[in-house]
Symmetry: C2
Subunit: 458 residues, 2 copies
Amino acid sequence: MFTKLIVRKLIDDRNLKGLREVLAELAPPEVAELVEELDEEDATVAFRLLPRHLAAEAFEALHSDRQQQLIRAFGNETDRLAGLLNDLSPDDRTQFFEELPGPVTQQLLSLLSPNERRIAVRLLGYPEESIGRLMTPEYVAVRPSWTMEEVLAHIRRYGHDSETLSRVYVVDDKGHLTDDLRLREILLSPPQVRVEDIMDGRFATLTATDDQETAVEAFRTHGYFALPVTDSDGMLLGIVTADDVLDVAHEEASEDIQMIGGAAALDEPYKNAAIRTLIRKRAPWLVTLLFGEMLTATAMSYYEAQLAHLVVLAFFLPLIISSGGNSGSQATTLIIRSLAVGELVKEDWLRVAYRESISGLALGLILGIIGFGRVVLWEQVFGTYGEHALLIATTVGVTLTGIVLLGTLFGSMLPFLVKRIGIDPAVSSAPLVATLIDVTGIVMYFSAAALILGKVLR
Amino acid sequence: MFTKLIVRKLIDDRNLKGLREVLAELAPPEVAELVEELDEEDATVAFRLLPRHLAAEAFEALHSDRQQQLIRAFGNETDRLAGLLNDLSPDDRTQFFEELPGPVTQQLLSLLSPNERRIAVRLLGYPEESIGRLMTPEYVAVRPSWTMEEVLAHIRRYGHDSETLSRVYVVDDKGHLTDDLRLREILLSPPQVRVEDIMDGRFATLTATDDQETAVEAFRTHGYFALPVTDSDGMLLGIVTADDVLDVAHEEASEDIQMIGGAAALDEPYKNAAIRTLIRKRAPWLVTLLFGEMLTATAMSYYEAQLAHLVVLAFFLPLIISSGGNSGSQATTLIIRSLAVGELVKEDWLRVAYRESISGLALGLILGIIGFGRVVLWEQVFGTYGEHALLIATTVGVTLTGIVLLGTLFGSMLPFLVKRIGIDPAVSSAPLVATLIDVTGIVMYFSAAALILGKVLR
């Protein structure tokens, strides 16, 4: 990027006047991108030169680790720090505070003006992951008795801070939300018409204490750019805008995907994560899964005699346990996503169990028949498996059918189970399901072998 | 839901007048929810009773299978069908057309008014998954020389159809986008000020032919509710709104998650999918993976002699191949998501390879040491593994280290490789990586055994 080269040159030359001029011409996201890419020291130099308004907007677009570095770099310059914090929009400020240790948040809160502090404390009072944390109190509210002319005058006077003007909210004298009006309706109505004349009493709201996922769903259904947030009594508290919700949806999807892959959520872009973070986030799960897998070694030791009699049996073990794991992976990811986006709810488990039993059986039969065919075919062509080939083929076919059915059923039920005990269903990751299925696969396989091959193994 | 009971009762009583009145009072998303939940016949009855405007808005919120059913139910009533299609907003109409077979789209296009048809054909002309397909031409554009008063008069006259009024776009006399203005700036400026006086020449745009993922990124960075779309010459073509982009982000995440789980993308909510669809989407991958797994049986047959000598070796095979698969799953999902959201690009592969080599080695050593410890400990306590326990422990430890390193490296590189040959990186799913690692794990394990246990196996 050309700008980046210029900025780098100006920093190297310590041409702060030139740098200030170049930076002032950039849009906030450009500044943020630049500040992300500079090293800590240069980033601080550049950030200090930004005009006040630009600094706040750029700050909002930075990743939280860079935000924290800059705040530390401000050190004891409480005036500048206070200026910056007061300029941030309340929703982005909440997000920033969320990432800080409690005492630091307290310290920074004390730098806010009484009014901004009141707002910040109120927003931080909502539970984590709740809609309240996404709210901004910067909206325009009007009364039913006002004329369009009065509404427009009100917007001209108080609309400066509003996050969006595409909707204006109508509240009664107790502060209850009673309607929303599109700005276009206001602009397109004659000046003397009253708000109550064009009200239709139809409006969508979010509840402050609800989970942020509900907001994602509501925005997708309604297709609005902003939705009002009320408390349980219908009092208007603030608004949530689509861009913040897009962020939430994005983070949640990333978290789910990382958890499904069997790692803790990374919480930052891959590129920014230190290698030790990458290890720290992945080792615990891998080790846990390894301990789970150790059960397979124990299980197998029970079948030592069978194995010694017929070593060929071991050949198909990887194939069987992996097929169980694969079918479990498919089922669990399908259900985790459906639960995450609200297409399925806890109460659907029985219906899902029914559907997955049928799917699992069908998939199991397909794989079982192929597995059976493979053993028979190899025996015909290469004579690999000796006199008991047909019995071995039957054992492999039956076990494959059983383990795929079981894997599918188990993979689809585990997310419901995990959700019921109050944990994010995404922890029932593909690797977890696969590991739990492995032990079952071994027991199933050798039991089937004992039944079908009977005497041969004794 | 109370309304649902009433509607059901009214349909059962064939009280169409009452039904019409109840439906007319609902918001479009409520109507859509209701229509989704009724059976096909009742849904058609209810939908026919909707006032024209409500019908169009509710139709836009329906899933594509229900949309298609309704269109079929309209049969030859071309007038009503034409009315509905012309009332749909251009972006939602494009999405609906996308789901239809070509000939049906052609037939429906012919029902549009010349103007709407021109718009529809133009939007359908953009490649699938491109930003052009999300565009709507319903925006307000103004000229630099206009005064605020003229701008407001223009909005009052032409703003009816605009999807959003929160921004107004400034174009020069050739149609090039030169700036965007917030509606608030216009409302807050004195009526005689000209557009060019408040222009700052800073604006963000999207390019029509770019991938929709770019739009998701742009909305996340800029935090706007709508972004203008231009062609490569900077001509303003339309706008894209945040709600459509939220839909895109949502669909892409679902698709990725389902593919990572090792199934084809479902393309519809789990609940709506027929059981045969669930089977059809999952069987091909499971069968493909099974064929991959068959290589493990072949690989193992080469080590029959080793196994016969020392059956204990088989005990640790599931543990080793699963650990390789788990570390591969972790790495591949991490990288797939980073590639999908643009945190990583194709060119980053070398850097990722470096980071993942170190992470993989560290993770491998952790698991290897634990694996070694497990074998030694069991031998001490239970005496399970006989005289060669220490050598077996070494074999297990070394192989675990190697396979975790390899799994991590392979899992992180496969998405890059797949992307390079032009396929969605999400196909390098956790099960695919696990299956490919399994064969390697077997070869590695028995090679290590041959080296370390040497004479014992001969």
